[in-house]
């Protein structure tokens, strides 16, 4: 009986493809697990003290143990970072459009911006503290200052590198500079803009944490700094882990936004 059922199934419908593991989708998780496993193994076998390099299990233990402050400080860091990043997006987009508007503005401002960007932003934190005191404001501003440069440069470059042929199409119809910017410049610079967001959000975390570390009573940077002064190394690593998680989540969000907004620029993947 069962043989008959099996036979008819084979004859009737094409054989169902065997279940295949989606290795590509799982790969990031598997590699992360692998890393943690290696780390754990390395620490256990070498017998390194937890006050130098805590094993992942110890770090997770610390996360559980200190969950309340970790959660509070993670939210604070996420808040300062996204706020600084948000300002950077708005200001960067505006300045980028301004710089990319004409070739002479681009030529004049570009070296200035490169010079500004070369200043390590951590060196600005003391100045920000003088102006605004310690706490949230300098963290937001540092995140903003460090992350807005790549946005400006990318938007400006997108505008400044419009192909002359494309510009000609519009100019031939009597288009003014504003028309060209609206119809070609801005849409064309959008992939550059959204691409730069991934870089910018990562930098924004650097900025806010640096500022929190030296000039705040809040946030993961401050939490790690005080944990370090108490030799609570597992808590330092717990902070690092939280930063990594927030960083990955925001990066993934930006990558998703990029893909959504500028699908046309990923033509090969879309046409499938």
């Amino acid at each position: 009986m069962s043989a008959m059922v099996e036979n008819s199934a084979v004859a009737g419908t094409p054989p169902r493809p065997a279940f295949r593991m989606p290795w590509l989708r799982l790969a990031p998780w598997l590699y992360t697990l692998g890393l943690f496993a290696l780390w754990e193994l390395g620490v256990r076998l070498s017998g390194i003290s937890h006050t130098i390099l805590p094993a992942p299990t110890v770090v997770f233990g610390a996360i559980v143990q200190y969950w309340s402050p970790i959660w509070k400080n993670s939210l604070q860091t996420l808040y300062t970072t996204t706020l600084g990043f948000g300002i950077a997006v708005v200001a960067g987009l505006a300045l980028g459009l301004f710089v990319g508007w004409s070739r002479s503005i681009y030529a004049g401002l570009y070296p200035l911006m490169v010079g500004f960007n070369a200043i390590p932003k951590v060196a600005l934190v003391p100045i920000l503290v003088i102006w605004f005191g310690i706490g949230t404001v300098p963290a937001v501003l540092t995140a903003f200052l460090i992350s807005f440069f790549p946005i400006v440069v990318n938007v400006a470059t997108g505008l400044a590198t419009i192909e002359p042929e494309t510009e000609d199409v519009l100019r031939a119809l009597g288009a003014k500079k504003l028309d060209i910017m609206l119809k070609v410049g801005i849409p064309r610079s959008m992939p550059y803009f959204f691409g730069s967001l991934k870089v910018a959000i990562t930098l924004a975390f650097v900025g806010s944490v640096v500022s929190e570390t030296v000039a705040s009573n809040n946030g993961l940077g401050n939490m790690m700094a005080s944990a370090q002064s108490q030799f609570n190394v597992p808590l330092v690593f717990a902070g690092l882990l939280m930063l990594a998680i927030e960083g990955i989540a925001m990066y993934a969000l930006m990558a998703w936004v990029e893909k959504r907004m500028t699908g046309w620029a990923h033509r090969s993947t879309m046409s499938q």
Binding site: E163, E165, T166, D168, V169, L170, R171, A172, L173, G174, A175, D179, K183, V184, P187, R188, M190, T262, W264, A265, R267, S271
Partner: protein
């Protein structure tokens, strides 16, 4: 008075020491005429087109369209560029509607009469054999399809003067002949003036009334020929001996111009 007049025009790219693209260029095209420009590659044909459109302003000489000296782009002109320049973030239909968003006459009416304009764009797409491709993106079209869409975009705002820079370059022989007929009928049905740049001498003789032969760079007009075949012309005119004689004549003129360079 001729619609397009070019008198002793010199055009040099990139400042005083740059490439002299055309020199001593003279030509006249009457309203309603169909002119073709042929010549060796790099002789300045695209430059000529851009001079008439007002994209380039010559260093010497005078270009005038409809009795007015060209000092900036002229909106009664529609141009199909040599390379299809569709904007990749717009669908084909939106690309074709683009001129309407720019040209003064239409931009204020576009929102209210969107339906009519879309219908018109779709009719154009149909005439060039792209029916139903309006919602595709340019990169979903083949090279030849993009060229045809390019042609639609040049036509949408009903220009008085249509400039076509090798618009059929990437097309197969059959589609090309089909589009020749489309252009021929368009010219017959309206009083549009057309200037066509082409490498295909049969195309020039089949479509145009007037053929200008250009010298090698720096380009100038070597000869102007009148095409004697009566309109309306059928594709079969291409098998007539007189047609082939004319094509041969043009070919040897261009060959000489190339050697002379």
């Amino acid at each position: 008075m001729a619609l397009v007049e070019i008198e002793r025009v010199d055009m040099r790219y990139g400042g005083a020491g740059g490439t002299l693209a055309v020199s001593g260029l003279d030509m006249k095209v009457e309203r309603g005429a169909f002119a073709a420009v042929v010549g060796p590659s790099g002789c300045g044909k695209s430059t000529l087109m851009k001079l008439v459109t007002g994209l380039h302003i010559p260093q010497a000489g005078n270009v005038s369209v409809a009795g007015r000296q060209v000092t900036e782009p002229v909106s009664i002109v529609g141009m199909a560029f040599q390379n299809p320049t569709m904007l990749p973030w717009r669908t084909t239909l939106d690309n074709i509607l683009l001129p309407l968003e720019i040209v003064e006459k239409h931009r204020h009416r576009l929102r209210k009469h969107k339906k009519d304009y879309v219908a018109k764009a779709e009719a154009l797409l149909e005439t060039v054999g792209l029916k139903g491709f309006g919602d595709k993106y340019p990169w979903q079209l083949s090279g030849g399809m993009q060229q045809r869409a390019n042609l639609c975009r040049a036509l949408i705002h009903e220009p008085e003067l249509l400039m076509l820079d090798e618009p059929f370059g990437a097309l197969d022989a059959f589609t090309r002949e089909e589009l020749w007929c489309v252009i021929r009928d368009l010219h017959a049905a309206s009083d549009v003036t057309i200037i066509l740049v082409t490498h295909d001498l049969r195309e020039a003789v089949f479509l145009a009334d007037q053929i200008f032969v250009m010298s090698a760079r720096p380009g100038r007009i070597l000869a102007e020929h009148h095409v004697p075949f009566a309109r309306p012309r059928e594709l079969s005119v291409m098998y007539e001996p007189a047609f082939n004689e004319m094509v041969q004549g043009l070919r040897s003129e261009i060959a000489e111009a190339r050697v002379a360079a």
